[in-house]
Amino acid sequence: MKGLHKFLVEKVKPNFTEGGKLSKFYTLYDALETFAFVPPHVTHNGTHIKDGIDLKRTMFMVILAMIPALLFGIWNAGHQHFLALGEIARTDDWTMLFGDKVLYGLSKVLPLIIVSYVAGLAVEIFIASIKKHSVQEGFLVSGMLIPLIMPLDVPLWMVAAATMFAVIIGKEVFGGTGMNILNVALTARAFLFFAYPTKMSGEVWISGDKSEFVDGVTGATALGELATTVGSAATEAGDRAVQTLFASDGIYSLWNCALGVIPGSVGETSSIAILIGALILIFTGIGSFRIIASFFVGGLVMATIFNLFGANAYMQMPPLHQLVMGGFMFGMVFMATDPVTAAQTATGKIIYGFLGGLLSILIRVVNPAYPEGVMMAILFMNVMAPLIDHYVIQSNIRRRTKRAKLQVA
């Protein structure tokens, strides 16, 4: 491998450096070289040794944590598709048409991943070469998050447009990785949600041609069904019909929701797969346990409060059932924990997570026009995070001033 590095540095690199034929692409070369080899630099001043961890490994750990949700999402894409076509029944063994399900899922999910990475990295590298700095690794994670929160049949050009919008407006205008205020992946989703609502909400959550679906399959999510029970259009008969879906033998039973065999975005459906990811993040110390735990508690508290009122079928959902539906778990584990956009102080993280969880359920239940309350809640808390930190830090400053006064007195 030393030979390869020598070849790169001696034969390939000169083409890309100042004066070389391809000097415009130096940033790209540098990104690839440092990807393959940790550079032979040494420390100069300050600590002579440094921790083994770097941003690349940190980001890789997050991607690793997303793999269970991704794999399940691929299988579930095919599973939902063939269910809707009536080719399999819910009672069938999970191995039925396993290969077909995975192949179908791959055919839908892989293009999303490729488009997201290509579009996002193209923008990143372009901007990095204009600003003459190296490509920072932030997008490695965003590029995987974006496909996981998309509906399967969203047009690919929309994914590309949303990704570019998110990278430029959500991140680069603030100064790039580490400087953004809003979570990049959620910015992409919010962009699509408001720009192309017909592709992002309603009955778009099962892949395939709707005209071929068996009767009764709508392509809505569990949250979409529940939303019909809120507001003036709700009828008692409708409410009851929806409630049967969530009973222990319905398609949206607690177990089905937790397992994730329900329609939804690519990676959001399986709470169990997401929780495996959460364990990886917490075990490696890369995701904040404080945020994940307080977010969960926040959601639980709000769902319990609604449950006590029980004004409609939505509010009557048992709290835990409420939390395993929709994007709540995915947002809690992978979005709220983004260290750049979350609160940064230990106390701040707890407040941030708690309010995030609270708002997710509040928005979801009270305003059924936004079934994905978690997206709005996290974006809102992203904006509020600096304020939370400000007050946490102010209390530290007050403590110090008080101590100084005591000393004088």
Binding site: F37, H41, N45, D51, L55, F60, G178, Q344
Partner: protein, 451 residues
């Protein structure tokens, strides 16, 4: 009654190459040097010319901003070179040692009758004042100040640091004399002596408030101890003296001679047989390392791996340094899957849990000088806080320094910290940010405001 403080935040970086508790025979060093760079912020004014004959204790130069602070030759002999760098900045004053090593006679001091001002004057005249440093700013103390306390850290917790019990053993009476003298200087204010819980050598010291500290590095940093016992507020100052320099002061009080001695540890994975040496500060590194370090691509550090300075065999030991560490250089490319960022990382120590080695708390590592990554913006949060035992928000303080917001720096507690307190943060930083340098610049900016 001594009180005990438990430091929870921090980490001991287990390195290969701890010194065996035996004293080696140092080689002869013909040339000794006093280097202005060892004293932060100092602008020296020469008092002697090349070729002058000096004794141990003869002033070589003084501090331009405070003429009372003099810097003396550690040995007797001839000033052979005043080494200058860019813009004629003085880099080192080298003294060729003679055989007999004669001393300037300042006369022993009767501590029980000594007055504060005259004692300070005699320390200044003997060129020993640089042994006393101050917080805030981590610079040589201003002799005109009246500090609210004097702090002595009785142990060093940094990686591979010398064992204080071994180093101090047999010099307890000199240490006691040092404490007695510092009490005169403290003028009724407390002298704090902080010991590692369970250590024995200094337990019997009198006239000092003894506290015990347990926990990982940086428990031995005097800044951490001050923060626990008597935190600094704006406008206050605290003086600090290193444990071995208390002995040096004590020796001066007893003998009236400028006779500096230190027991330093030669440590690190690239040392053949790590052990202790008794030396005089300013000694050539070669005198300690010669024949005892491994061949090849190595880095010699004057000090520890976190706060020391890069050195070489022909260089001189730093004035305040109590150890030399030799580790491998890391200037080899590391392929991503084997030794790089995607590798198993069984040879890497990380404060994060992203490498499996965190499950082996007792493992000793042979770490090199590769930063293991490139400079990035702040992304990961909560990392500094794990190794920073202060009631201070470290990242926020660093950011306020970066934007030079003086009011915010003061609010966030910059007076309480020194660069060394951030050394572990710098080690742990995923984004490889040079935190110690940033903190030093912040302190310098603040110091400039006062002048």
């Amino acid at each position: 009654m001594s009180s005990t403080y438990k430091i929870k935040k921090g980490v001991n970086i287990g390195l290969v190459g701890e010194s065996a508790k035996e004293l080696g025979a140092a080689g002869s060093s013909e040339v000794y040097a006093v280097r202005p760079q060892d004293f932060h912020g100092l602008i020296p004014k020469m008092l002697v010319k090349e070729g002058a004959e000096v004794k141990a204790g003869t002033p070589l130069f003084y501090d331009k901003s405070n003429e009372r602070i003099k810097f003396s030759s550690p040995v007797s002999g001839e000033v052979v070179e005043v080494l200058r760098g860019e813009k004629r900045r003085i880099l080192a004053v080298k003294v060729l040692a003679d055989k007999q090593n004669s001393f300037e006679e300042f006369g022993p001091i009767n501590l029980s009758a000594a007055k504060r001002d005259t004692l300070i004057d005699s320390i200044l005249n003997a060129g020993l004042w640089p042994l006393i440093k101050q917080r805030p700013f981590d610079v040589i103390a201003n002799p005109a100040d009246h500090p609210k306390a004097i702090f002595i850290s009785g142990f060093d917790s940094s990686p591979l640091a010398p064992d204080s019990d071994f180093v101090i053993k047999g010099k307890e009476d000199l240490f006691q004399a040092g404490i007695d003298g510092l009490n005169v200087i403290a003028d009724g204010k407390p002298v704090h002596l902080n010991l590692r819980k369970g250590s024995s050598a200094l337990k019997g010291m009198k006239n000092a408030q003894i506290s015990e500290f347990s926990g990982p590095h940086p428990a031995g940093n005097v800044g951490v101890q001050i923060h626990q016992i008597s935190p600094l507020n704006k406008g206050e100052s605290i003086w600090t003296v290193a444990a071995q320099d208390v002995i040096n002061l004590g020796r001066f009080f007893k003998t009236g001679k400028h006779e500096l001695k230190k027991t330093i540890a030669l440590t690190g994975s690239e040392v053949n047989s790590p052990k202790y040496f008794e030396i005089t500060p300013g000694v050539m590194v070669k005198a300690i390392t010669k024949g005892n370090v491994k061949e090849g691509n190595i880095r010699i550090i004057s000090g520890n791996v976190l706060t020391g300075s890069t050195s070489s065999e022909d260089d001189f030991l730093g004035y305040y340094d109590t150890q030399i560490t030799v580790i491998p250089e890391g200037n080899e490319p590391k392929f991503l899957l084997t030794k790089g960022w995607l590798g198993p990382g069984l040879d890497k120590f990380s404060i994060s849990h992203a490498f499996p080695t965190w499950l082996l708390p007792k493992k000793k590592y042979k770490l090199d000088t590769n930063p293991n990554g490139e400079l990035r913006a702040y992304v990961v949060t909560g990392q500094y806080e794990k190794v920073f035992p202060f009631d201070i928000y470290p990242v926020q303080l660093v950011k306020s320094i970066l934007v030079n917001d003086i009011e915010q720096m003061e609010n966030l507690g910059i007076y309480e910290v020194a660069p060394e307190d951030f050394a572990l943060c710098e080690y742990a930083c995923t984004s490889k940010i040079q935190v110690q340098q940033i903190v030093r610049e912040g302190l310098d900016n603040l110091l400039a405001e006062f002048k």
